[in-house]
Amino acid sequence: QLSLFRFTVKRPFSTSHSSVDSKEIKKFQLLAQKWWDEEGEYAALHSMNDIRVPFIRDTLLSMSSNYNLGNPLSGIKILDVGCGGGLLSEPLGRLGASVTGIDPVEDNIRTADQHKSFDPVLAERIQYKSSSLEEIVEESMETFDVIVASEVVEHVADLEMFIKCCSQVLKPEGSLFITTINKTQLSYVLGIVVAEKIMGIVPEGTHEWEKFVPPEELERLLESNGFSVRSVKGMLYNPLSGSWSWVRSRSLNYALHAVRAGAPPQPHATDTLPETDVQQRSATAGTA
């Protein structure tokens, strides 16, 4: 039962660009060319598409009433947060979605833009932007049907702020898909000690165990910020076969699907009018 380790280098995901570490930037620039080598450093992320794309696709299909199997995600607007070189944006685009991919590292965006440019269909369906999530909130309120944050939240400085931003840019009843790593003894032993120090599969220092997120905490944060968690599934990477599979245990990697609550019901006009007046008056009194 070997581990899953992150193949994306740690991407400091903070509230402002100025906290981005220039050392981290350099690490990225080196690896920016490697995104699209299916057998290179990012091989495990490429093969993760084999389970995360069907997960997203099937969940969305089950929630929609009619669809065309040639383009199952057509008409859906997706935000891919921390898109890197576009490994997940492209399959979602091929399935018909309109994808906006954002990543704070410019070199990643450049690689992603260049890679999609050769395919006219993808070039039209996907837009990339070098930006953090916070930076696009204002112009993208309630814009997206779906947000995918795959292998991202374990790098975010302020997770609750991140979730709040997701809620703001998602349409009511929009879906949020997250894949990340649990914070357990097992993930320390396998994810850090074995993967980084012993087998050298992941460059040393890529992961910070302290920033791993247990599913219970993620669920708590989501539920208290207007999300309803629909499913949490464990994922396991087999380094011998190079493939991912779904497992019951979430002690290593896991995927989560949550739905943003719908718009709150409007208060009834007629019978409660006097009470509302009183409430409003006392509310304004309070803030005056």
């Binding site: 084999d50 794309v53 069907p54 199997l69 492209e90 091929r94 050769f118 395919d119 006219p120």
Partner: protein
């Protein structure tokens, strides 16, 4: 223009590949191109006489053709189902019979033109997805460079004879045993020319019969097979030495018919020794397994041959060491060439299509890059495993039956008799 898939070669296998993908639900919005060097053939109505190029279509292949709607057309044109296959030796009494216990058909004899007509109709039906380029021979292929993130196009470039250029995410080579796709991709091909040619012809039987049996007799010079076309006509496939084949083509029609009948009926190659040994073995088997020896039927006798229907073509064995490369896949004879004695040639190609289409369909539904080696390798592994054993077995059979040396004849006589008596082995075949 950029295509999702380009199929190079518009024969039965190439056309079927394009038709199957064109009818796949996950390829609804994809662009497929089929390149065929020859002109478009109109098959509006079938001529009364049968074509001399026919294929034995297995039930699995019929299912594949059904899946793209072509089998219905074949059935409405013409085909001959057969229920039984009798294979026997010229040097002994050994015989093996294949037949299904239930009343299902074992296979179908269909003219290649009929299959092409059905496929052309089904390609027309999906013309919004599949563009067929006739009179378009590919003269050059440019492969993408392996390194990623560079400025050059990641697609395969195809150059046509008239100068037009296409780009594609996946190139499927269905261009026959002299495949240019395979050569340009520099994929090593293990090949061997048999010192044999196949003579084909359309024959008329002496008397009308149910004619639902396929007959094959192994002569020392090569197997001769009679494949039913109708109650009164059968197709001949006679694999023999190049010289003998030329003789057969040159001789007058009466002598030709006599040669065929004598090939099926004469016992000139029997030796007493082998006959006795064979008989002993047969008695032994009937003690152990009373039902183990089947009833020997007699093949029909031939009365005449269709004028102009005699033709010959050389035979060989071929197998590509790799079926796939990044953005390239080989199917059909481009990947493997087999002796007709097993009647498997085109069925292997249809099997390739079923497997490749399955993987491509799943890849499309996952939003994957169609040219990615990951799923192409799965196709290669599955098919090589299947094809290599069949090619090897066919080759061994061909060599085993090419001799009159007593020990080998005895070996194959007993082997055949034993196999005939053992249901599990026969079912596997």
């Amino acid at each position: 223009p950029l295509y999702d898939v380009v199929v190079s070669g518009g024969g039965m296998v190439g056309s079927a590949m394009a038709a199957v993908l064109g009818h796949d639900i996950h390829f609804h919005d994809k662009k497929i191109a089929l390149l065929e060097a020859g002109p478009r053939k109109e098959y509006d109505h079938m001529p009364d006489s049968y074509s001399n190029r026919v294929s034995s279509i297995s039930p699995g292949s019929a299912t594949l053709l059904s899946s793209c709607g072509a089998w219905d057309h074949v059935c409405s044109l013409r085909l001959k189902p057969f229920r039984r296959m009798q294979v026997w030796d010229a040097c002994s009494e050994a015989m093996i019979v294949f037949e299904k216990d239930d009343l299902d058909d074992m296979g179908y004899i269909v003219e290649n033109d009929v299959i092409m007509s059905a496929l052309t109709k089904q390609l027309d039906a999906v013309a919004d997805r599949v563009e067929v380029f006739y009179r378009s021979k590919a003269v050059g292929y440019t492969w993408p460079l392996p390194s990623h993130g560079c400025d050059t196009s990641p697609w395969v470039q195809v150059e046509l004879a008239d100068g037009r250029r296409l780009q594609t995410k996946l190139l499927i080579g269905a261009d026959g045993h002299n495949s240019m796709v395979r050569k340009e991709a520099e994929i090593k091909n293990i090949e061997h020319q048999y010192d044999q040619s196949a003579v084909v012809a359309t024959l008329h039987l002496s008397e009308a019969t149910d004619n639902n049996v396929a007959w094959q007799r192994f002569l020392p010079t090569g197997p001769i097979a009679l494949l039913p076309l109708s109650d009164t006509a059968s197709s001949l496939v006679w694999s023999t030495s190049h010289d003998h084949a030329s003789e057969l083509l040159a001789m007058d029609e009466e002598s030709f018919v006599d040669s065929i009948n004598s090939a099926f009926w004469s016992n000139i190659n029997h030796s007493d020794f082998i006959d006795t040994a064979g008989a002993m073995f047969r008695s032994a088997i009937s003690l152990l397994k009373p039902s183990g020896t089947a009833v020997r039927q007699l093949p029909p006798s031939v009365a005449e041959v269709d004028a102009e229907s005699r033709a010959m073509f050389p035979l060989g064995l071929g197998h590509a060491t790799e079926y796939v490369r990044p953005r390239v896949a080989l199917i059909g004879d481009a990947a493997h060439r087999v002796h007709p004695l097993a009647g498997q040639g085109v069925n292997l190609g249809f099997g390739d299509i079923a497997c490749l289409a399955h993987h491509l369909s799943a890849a499309a539904f996952n939003g994957s890059d169609l040219g990615s080696l990951k799923h192409l390798l799965k196709f290669e592994t599955e098919r090589q495993r299947h094809n290599v054993s069949l090619l090897a077995a066919t080759d061994v059979l061909k060599r085993l039956y090419s001799t009159t040396l007593a020990p080998l004849v005895l070996l194959r006589t007993w082997g055949l008799q034993a196999t005939n008596a053992l249901p599990p082995v026969k079912v596997r075949i």
